[in-house]
């Protein structure tokens, strides 16, 4: 492969990562205006792995955010959540809203607070 191609791929990956950083930062700023305090990656991890009356994020997403998940009911594959292996994640603000809404209601039987969503994002962006 020529150096030119490397440069193009590098550039595209760079764009994807920048888009991701931008969108996550934008969401964090939004959550702060909704009353969230300083975000904690540790709190995010705890929320991700803890059991909420028999339900947990990991039941569908798998134990590692770098791995492929499997929908607990339909068996459909879920691509990795970790940006390090799936740069497409967290590049679309509407998608983040949609899946937090659906999945918090499934897992916690309620919507997540701005604080909880921010905590998860600051943890998962490093994965």
């Amino acid at each position: 492969m020529s150096n030119g191609r490397f440069a193009v791929i590098g550039l595209l990956l760079g764009f994807a990562l920048t888009a991701q950083a931008d969108v996550i930062d934008e969401k964090l700023a939004q959550y702060r205006t909704e009353g969230a305090q300083a975000f904690s990656a540790e709190a995010g991890l705890n929320l991700w792995i803890s059991n909420h009356n028999g339900r947990s994020c990991t039941q569908c997403h798998g134990d590692s955010p770098q791995g492929v998940g499997k929908h607990i009911k339909t068996g459909k594959q879920i691509k990795p959540m970790a940006p390090s292996v799936n740069p497409q994640r967290f590049t679309d603000s509407d998608k983040i809203d949609k899946w937090f809404l659906r999945n918090c209601k499934w897992t916690l039987k309620r919507v997540c607070s701005a604080q909880e969503k921010g905590d998860i994002l600051v943890w998962i962006r490093e994965q």
């Binding site: 929908h71 009911k73 339909t74 068996g75 459909k76 949609k98 809404l101 659906r102 209601k105 499934w106």
Partner: protein, 187 residues
């Protein structure tokens, strides 16, 4: 004289039998094309290009399960499903208003014909589960439970595409069936 009459009667018999056979063949052909029309409506247009609404359907609904061909349920069923997404068979599948309107229109436009094909004798009904249609049950009644709920790779009849490899394109012919851990299915 008599021999001639017999000959004529003989020709007539063959003629009548032949026409009946042809008519039956014609009927079965129209029946088949109707059934398959019902299955693959809205899946792709003749040039194989998807409309934005079809893509929205696959993106939003196909994220969790196969994007069931719209022709498998009548319009009333789809409308009911699309207005109860917050409790979608026990799951939350809420969408914002824009995609809901777009996808509802797409599903309604391409819904199955009530009372025809696999929705025969169901006119006026709005079933919510494809797997509970009498037609579906009849078509799968020889498939043993161990190959479906007892098969970790299948799990449920709802996962059409695990065995019907071209389900998302609206193709359910028996020769496209491969049951994981079992193989081809011929009954």
């Amino acid at each position: 004289m008599n021999a001639n009459v017999n000959k004529v009667v003989g020709y007539l018999r063959w003629g009548i039998a032949g026409s009946l056979l042809l008519a039956a063949w014609g009927l079965s052909l129209t029946g088949m094309s109707r059934a398959s029309d019902n299955y693959n409506r809205g899946v792709a247009n003749s040039s194989g290009v998807s409309s934005p609404a079809a893509m929205a359907y696959r993106e939003e609904c196909g994220a969790c399960h196969i994007a069931y061909p719209p022709g498998l349920l009548p319009e009333a069923s789809w409308r009911s499903i699309m207005t109860t997404l917050d409790d979608h068979f026990g799951e939350n599948a809420e969408l914002s208003e824009g995609p809901v309107a777009m996808i509802t229109a797409y599903l309604s436009e391409n819904a199955g014909n009530p009372g025809r094909g696999m929705l025969k004798r169901m006119a006026g009904e709005a079933p919510l589960r494809i797997t509970e249609l009498p037609y579906f049950i009849r078509k799968h009644d020889e498939v043993p439970e161990r190959l479906v709920s007892g098969n970790p790779e299948v799990g449920s009849f709802s996962n059409c595409n695990v065995c019907h490899q071209r389900a998302e394109r609206g193709e359910f012919d028996e020769d496209t069936v491969r049951i994981p851990g079992y193989g081809r299915w011929d009954d």
